[in-house]
Amino acid sequence: MSPLDLMSYKGRQEVFSGHASPTTSWKRCEANHEDDANAEGDGWNVTFLLTPPEDGLQAYFEICPSEYGNVRPLSVEASTRLLCHMLTHQLPARGLSELLGSLFEMKSYYGEAPSALTSSQEFEPISCSMLEPEAAPVFPVTEE
């Protein structure tokens, strides 16, 4: 499945758990340009439906994780988490088993990485020449 397939996909509306709302829409943020109202911004605007459709209510939660000026609306951690939620919700049911397999592989990979990175065996020895030993210098008391 290509990423482009996912872009046009509107979410698994048939799946609606008690705690996770499906993504209702996913589109480009509007650009913050006064001279061109139709321009598209850099970020994605994600809309979550907050209530089940059968309730007859229209409550949505919209979030646009793009930067405006120097202000970042979400932390990197929250943005990443949100992206994972978005991608999962956008994924058709037939892709879920593949996603689960990938997640297990990632967990295994990152679970092993720290010990490998901190191992002193990773450092390559370098050649060096030893100079003649010197007595440690003495620094007499000075007025400050």
Binding site: I126, C128, S129, M130, E134, A136, F139, P140
Partner: protein, 197 residues
């Protein structure tokens, strides 16, 4: 006569002690000319062995014990030992440019009233594990260094460095506290001012 201040160090194969004085410890430093090469791992570097006639262990005693026990199981808890070099007091007193240090200034140092320095009286022969006795020494709290713990034990085992003596309580705590106080001092933009009388 037993020294009130010092007791001789244990054997080379026992745990290092806080405020233990060792002699002849060799610190390996990257030579000044090789500093640029030291961060480019493809080029060889020159290493300068610096011999400290005397140095005192500043690392906490309990940390040293835990690390020593861990090493028996091929583990380590204190990768580096903190030392303060201990030059001879007479060398520290020696003027650099011919001008004498005022005797009242030296008296402040010798009485441990100068926060930067710590003076150690001479250690008698029977308090020295090498049975030689130690001269008067002085620590300058602005100067300290660390060494790989395994390398320190290696030098003690090989006899390159020698364990000499350690400070007894409360001289150990007095020394340790003064060092901690010096490191913890707070620089103020301006001192408090007093109105003229």
């Amino acid at each position: 006569m037993d020294s009130q201040i010092y007791t001789h160090s244990p054997n080379f194969n026992e745990c290092l002690r806080q405020a233990e004085i060792v002699s002849g410890i060799i610190q390996l430093m990257v030579a000044e000319s090789s500093l640029a090469s030291a961060i480019d791992f493809r080029r060889p570097i020159a290493v300068l062995p610096v011999v400290h006639e005397f140095a005192i262990v500043m690392t906490q005693g309990c940390d040293l014990v835990q690390d020593f026990n861990a090493r028996a199981k091929n583990e380590e808890q204190v990768p580096n030992v903190l030392f303060c070099p201990l030059p001879r007091a007479e060398a520290l007193k020696r003027p650099r440019n011919g001008s004498e240090i005022p005797s009242r200034d030296w008296k402040r140092i010798q009485q441990n009233d100068d926060k930067r320095y710590h003076f150690f009286e001479a250690a008698p022969q029977d308090a020295d594990a090498a049975n030689e006795g130690l001269p008067e020494l002085t620590a300058d709290f602005k100067r300290y260094f660390t060494m790989q713990t395994a390398f320190v034990y290696r030098q003690l085992k090989d006899g390159t460095a020698k364990r000499r003596c350690e400070l007894k309580s409360p001289y150990l705590e007095h020394f340790s506290f003064r060092f901690a106080f010096f490191l913890g001092r707070i620089g103020l933009p301006e001192p408090h001012q007093s109105e003229p009388a």
